[in-house]
């Protein structure tokens, strides 16, 4: 076995690198400025800070933002879309809904393909999968002509009922491959084998949109890494919480979109596990962003459908909720009341204290006035903050409210913390979860700053702060396995389901995912398949996903599925109907390929001496200025126990510990904070 495991995560400002040395069991980390014009430069520069000869790297995993950036900046491929005749506008109309119900000037997000580049072909499948109108070769020649004339990078083919019978999609692909061999082609049924055409089109189109960018990026990176000696596969973090090889990532680039943030969720699960916390609320808070995800029973909470940039994506993703509150949230006065958010000052100009011309008070400005963050060591000292500017904007609000500056600053933080807690509670309640049964894991530059206050509001008793909170996503990526998901729509009353047909569909999915796993050099004995089903009461739209106990459907499985469904429905919604008719809608399969994983790191052992603060400084706690001890995380070891109020500085963030929390250190250097009465 080679020596190193390497994890790399690209962020907006920095590229984070984490290296595990298997010989010593130690992790080392590095940060290098991200290089937006050629992301792989930043990656290689960062790696070289830690290891020069990549031939010693046995496992290299990477979270890339190349795809999501292309989507956000609308810099993807020039595409054509081929659809069934009569349905040219399905993509433009979407679901025709208006989420902002009091907005008479509502506009949908601008689509990734303009109407003139959508081409209809005459063909039609029926809902039962039979051919209603056959596809004709002559029409395809016409299609080739219209594609030839414009220089498209890729074409997506999305036909009605292709989830049920994909023959026509396949036939068009075959024909086009022959006539236009350089064209990149995406088929909707290969992306998602599930009904609902708009969502399937949207998923396929996004995949095609980011495909050339991802391919280009990965090829460059692979070449660079190879030049530096890398002999093992490059692995890419997927949105579903698993990894895949770069080769597979080029086929399904849509799965790289949440590549970065997911690393944090997976890392949280690992950190939770060594103190027996299986149920976690994972909070990733940067200077201006606030993402929340959940882990239940040690597994990431994965949703079958997510939305990015208001476009639906129907492939499984770790459910990451971006909440409209964070360090950048602005404070303002309305009707004599104090409001915080939902508007954010963003990162440019950002909070007033960034000194980039921002003139609106933000949560970060308030934290600075309270002494909770330091003007010189904010986000690991990446930028120094302008205290005077913070005072000025908060004073303006204080005057309007008739409060002192300090009172106002603390109020702004309290409101923001309470709002973040409210948002987390709504999220957990909608999933039938009581947040009080969960531990909170906080990371990112600003996560540890707010975590204890949020925990207080939610009635959460345990908070974990990872030892390497600043490069945590990259670290988390080293804790994963290979994962692939598949789905088949199969609509039937559960009691009347055809067990043979179900087994046939599961088998089909096993064969196709097994192939993807083998392609990534996973041996059969390291593969695990889990069968699941989406169920609902007849008449309902939303489904609940429940696992089968076995990998083969037996007669008794249907009864077991039904029982699990009734129970889970009760847990989520607070009621169920045991006499109700239960329907199957989709069959799902999760294929896992186990890989040799990194260890948590070296056991730290007990401290040799007591923990001494590096300084004391004045900090505001409940409207009172108190001299407060400040520790460095480097000085804290497993036998130490520190009682709040205190502040702990880490290289990448500041941990604010109010009075009723006690801080302890686990064997791997992660902090565990316990809330007292």
């Amino acid at each position: 076995m080679s020596r190193y495991h390497l994890g790399v995560d690209i962020g907006g400002t920095f590229t984070d690198v984490v290296l595990l040395d298997n010989e010593t069991g130690r992790y080392t980390t590095a940060k290098s400025p991200s290089t937006p014009n050629n992301l792989s430069n930043g990656v290689i520069n960062g790696i070289k800070k830690l290891v020069t000869d990549l031939s010693e790297v046995d496992f290299f995993v990477h979270g890339t933002t190349a795809g999501i950036n292309a989507l956000l900046e609308r810099k993807g491929a020039k595409m054509a879309l081929v659809v069934t005749k009569g349905f040219k506008d399905l993509y433009e109309i979407g679901r025709a809904n208006r989420p902002e119900i009091y907005n008479i000037q509502y506009r949908q997000p601008e689509k990734l393909i303009s109407r003139r580049h959508i081409i209809e072909v005459e063909e039609r499948m029926s809902a039962d999968g039979s051919v209603d109108n056959p596809l004709r070769k002559n029409d395809l020649e016409q299609l080739v002509e219209s594609l030839e004339n414009q220089d498209f990078d890729s074409v997506s083919i999305c036909l009605i009922h292709a989830y049920k019978n994909p023959d026509h999609e396949k036939m068009i692909k075959e024909y086009l491959q022959e006539r236009l061999p350089t064209m990149s082609i995406s088929l909707s049924h290969e992306m998602v084998r599930e009904w609902r055409e708009y969502e399937r089109i949207s998923t396929t189109v996004i995949n095609a949109y980011v495909a050339p960018i991802i391919e280009d990026y990965l090829e460059k990176l692979e070449k660079e890494a190879e030049l530096n000696g890398l002999r093992s596969n490059l692995h890419i973090m997927q949105s579903n919480g698993g990894v895949m090889t770069a080769e597979v990532a080029k086929e399904i680039p849509v799965q790289t979109l949440m590549s970065g943030p997911v690393g944090g969720t997976i890392g949280s699960i690992e950190v939770g596990q060594n103190s027996d916390h299986q149920n976690l609320i994972c909070v990733d808070m940067g200077g201006t962003s606030f993402d929340v995800s959940l882990a239940v029973d040690g597994e990431p909470d994965v949703t079958a459908e997510a939305e990015l940039e208001k476009f639906p994506i129907m492939t499984p993703m770790v459910d990451i909720h971006t909440i409209g509150a964070g360090g950048g949230s602005t404070a303002w006065v309305e009707g004599g009341g104090l409001r915080v958010g939902p508007e954010s000052a963003g990162s440019d100009p950002g909070p007033a204290c960034y000194g980039k011309g921002g003139n609106r008070a933000t949560v970060t400005d308030a934290n600075l006035i309270l002494g909770r963050i330091d003007s010189e060591s904010f986000l690991g000292g990446d930028m120094s903050l302008d205290v005077d500017a913070a005072y000025k904007v908060i004073e303006d609000i204080a005057n309007k409210l008739g409060l002192s500056i300090v009172e106002t600053a603390e109020g702004v933080c309290d409101i923001a913390n309470a709002k973040m807690a409210d948002a987390i509670r709504t999220l957990t309640v909608s999933k039938g979860i009581d947040p009080r049964d969960f531990a909170l894991v906080a990371f990112g530059g600003a996560g540890p700053l707010h975590a204890m206050f949020i925990a207080e509001h939610l009635g959460i008793n345990k908070v974990k702060i990872p030892a390497i909170a600043g490069t945590f996503s990259a670290w988390g990526m080293l804790q994963t396995d290979i994962r692939h998901d598949d789905v088949r729509t199969y609509v039937s009353v559960l009691d009347e389901s055809d067990v043979t047909e179900m087994n046939g569909l599961y088998e089909e999915m096993k064969i196709s995912t097994k192939e993807i796993l083998s392609q990534q050099k996973i041996q059969e004995e390291d593969m695990l398949f889990q069968c699941l089903a989406d169920l609902r009461y007849a008449g309902q739209e939303y489904t609940v996903t429940v696992p089968l106990y076995t990998t083969i459907v037996e007669e008794k499985s249907l009864e077991e599925l039904k029982e699990s469904f009734h129970d889970k429905h009760f847990n989520i919604y607070g009621h169920n109907n045991r006499d109700g008719i239960v329907e199957i809608v989709n069959l799902r399969l999760i294929a896992t390929g186990y890989i040799d994983k990194a260890k948590q790191g070296k056991n730290l052992g007990a401290a040799e001496k007591e923990a001494f603060p590096i300084q004391t400084k004045p900090v505001i706690w409940e409207n009172k200025r108190k001299n407060t001890t400040v520790y460095s995380i480097d000085d804290l070891f497993p036998s130490h126990k520190i009682t709040g109020p205190t502040i702990i500085e880490t290289p990448s963030s500041t941990i604010v510990v109010p009075e009723n929390f006690v801080v302890e250190v686990d064997n791997f250097g992660n902090l565990e904070l316990t809330r007292g009465e």
Partner: protein, 577 residues
């Protein structure tokens, strides 16, 4: 003393409590939408929830439909009066009502109310309203040609369905057995009760955290803040009298157009909406109770001038609505109220139009106007069962100062409703969609173009099917503003063998396999003179097929060459003609 100086509680505590109450309402809605049985609730979000204090004043609300903004409070007051006062409530009680003349909406909208107690003191209410699929009207779902409320389903005054935590089984059965879909009715009722319980639990948690006195003081302040915001917003509108009127095609039974007339009087911090001149109540179903009319006026206000802050019991204090008795907006027995939202949609559009001269940036030209509902029902030969398919149809929205109107978007009454995917529709019903797309050339010309309507073409695959249609606004299609032009009116054709027939409203027309129903919805109105639209944008519209070269020439005065380039010289000539 100004209102600001009257605020009593610390603004920080007040704000935390305000946010907690809003989030509590969101949790109620989450619970309701996700556990209900009817697609009309979980998919169309035809529901609304709220938490109220003991005086039935709104603390936090979450609404799936804009129309349900603020009239649950009215239902609580009516219930309290009906049962003989607040001291008649016990912990664990639940009440249900749907009467149109009390609650304002149609009988399908069921309102569930539950008192909230804290240490044996009545401290508030939680309430939910949701649309039940069927309440036993003469036809499945909702008829289009009822002439009396007695044909529209079971009519329920405030009725106790849970007593001290125990279900009143016989009463619940009596109500749900009047639905053609009893299981779904019971499922939806349970979802509504569960949502009320969620609201009750969260409100109690807030009181536990802060103490009842502190919560009450904060709530007083929250109301005052809302009032200040309203007063400031209204004061910013120039004083004046703003009038408009418009027509519905008919009431579905008799043929005369239905008139809606609004007079908006703005005087300093007060706004009065006077509906005098609106049609007297009609034989057909375009009537609604006054409670819902007031709610619609509040929605218009919220669209145009309200702040983004969620509504509370402190809002609308300086808004008055006057409706003469026995009009379509203040219906009394025995008026049928099934399509109550059709005149209300027009009312909202007219208030926006009336105020547009003084609120140009906030306004928009009219949208296509109504829900444009198609109902298909009959027997499903494949499975030997019956089916009922009901769907509102999207259309074009009006252009506005900054942008074109949105194409293919659901009407204002339906909020965040999502259309039914073609694949799901064909999988569930004996229907086939031959065509679903945008209706070219239907957007009203303007500097900002109106959005396009849609076309949906259904082929019937059942030998025993019936069609019911409710399409509207052909007499008053989506108007333009500031010299923008109207969008196209709606159109529906039914093709049987070789004969083609046009109609907009019909009840239970029989159809058989192979018949084709083609519905076309209207486009939105244009905003600003069409000749002020840049030739480049007009060309883009032609290239994408939203308009054709005829419209480019005749409506926009833009001339394109054979290879689709702009002929600037000719365009200038056209525009200067």
């Amino acid at each position: 003393m100004s209102l600001e100086q009257n605020l009593k509680e610390n603004p920080i505590t007040t704000e935390i409590i305000r946010n907690a109450l809003i989030s509590a309402a969101e949790e109620m809605n989450e619970s309701l939408a996700r556990s209900s049985y009817s697609p009309i609730i979980y998919e169309m979000k035809d529901c609304s929830v709220g938490i109220f204090n003991e005086n039935a004043e709104l603390l936090g609300q979450s609404s799936g439909l804009p129309f349900f903004l603020g009239n649950l409070d009215e239902c609580i007051n009516l219930t309290t009066n009906y049962i003989g006062g607040k001291d008649k409530y016990s912990p664990g009680d639940v009440y249900l009502l749907n009467d149109s003349y009390l609650a304002g909406a149609h009988l399908n909208d069921m309102t569930v109310i539950s008192p909230i107690f804290y240490q044996e003191e009545l401290v508030g209410f939680s309430a939910t309203r949701a649309h039940w699929l069927d309440v036993g009207a003469k036809d499945p779902g909702s008829p289009t040609d009822a002439t009396e409320i007695y044909q529209e389903g079971i009519r329920i005054p405030p009725t106790k369905i849970y007593s001290k935590g125990e279900p009143v089984k016989d009463v619940i059965d009596l109500i749900t057995m009047n639905s053609r879909f009893q299981g779904s009715a019971l499922g939806d009722l349970n979802a509504q009760i569960a949502a009320c319980r969620t609201g009750e639990r969260r409100f109690n948690e807030v009181i536990n955290n802060y103490g009842l006195e502190k919560v009450r003081r904060a709530v007083d302040d929250i109301f005052k803040q809302s009032e200040i915001i309203d007063r400031d917003n209204i004061a910013s509108i120039p004083d004046g009298i703003y009038e408009e009127e418009g027509y519905l095609d008919n009431d579905g039974v008799t043929n005369d157009p239905v008139r809606v007339k609004v007079k908006v009087i703005v005087e300093r911090e007060n706004i009065n909406i006077d509906l005098t001149g609106t049609s007297l109540q009609r034989t057909g179903m375009t009537n609604c109770g006054k409670a819902q009319t007031i709610s619609a006026c509040r929605v218009a206000f919220k669209h145009l001038i309200g702040s983004e802050s969620p509504v509370t019991g402190g809002n609308f204090k300086t808004m008055k609505v006057f409706v003469p008795e026995r009009t379509i907006m203040s219906a009394e027995e025995p008026a049928a109220c099934g399509w109550y939202f059709t005149p209300l949609g027009l009312l909202i559009d007219l208030v926006i139009k009336a105020l547009s001269p003084v609120l140009k940036d906030q306004s928009a030209a009219a949208h296509y106007g109504d829900s444009m509902v198609i109902t298909l029902y009959g027997s499903d030969n494949r499975e030997d069962t019956s089916f009922l398919y009901v769907e509102p149809t999207a259309g074009g929205w009006g252009g506005f100062a900054k942008d074109d109107g949105q194409s293919g978007l659901i009407n204002n009454a339906n909020g965040d409703f999502k259309n039914m995917p073609v694949e799901v529709l064909e999988g569930k019903y004996p229907l086939k969609l031959k065509h679903y797309g945008l209706r070219n050339n239907s957007g009203g010309p303007g500097k900002s173009r109106g959005g396009l309507g849609v076309i949906r073409e259904y082929e019937i695959c059942s030998d025993d099917a019936s069609l019911t249609l409710w399409f509207e606004r052909s007499i008053t299609p989506a108007w333009g503003l500031f010299e923008g032009q109207s969008g196209s009116p709606p159109n529906v054709t039914v093709q049987k063998n070789d004969s083609v027939e046009s109609m907009l409203k019909v009840s239970g027309k029989s159809l058989e396999s192979g018949d084709i129903v083609k519905v076309e919805t209207g486009g939105g109105g244009g905003f600003g003179p069409p000749f002020h639209r840049t030739p480049e944008l007009v060309r883009e519209d032609v290239l994408d097929g939203y308009i054709d070269t005829n419209d480019a020439l005749n409506e926009y005065g833009v001339v394109l060459t054979e290879d689709w380039e702009i002929d600037y010289e000719e365009t200038l000539n056209q525009r200067n003609k």
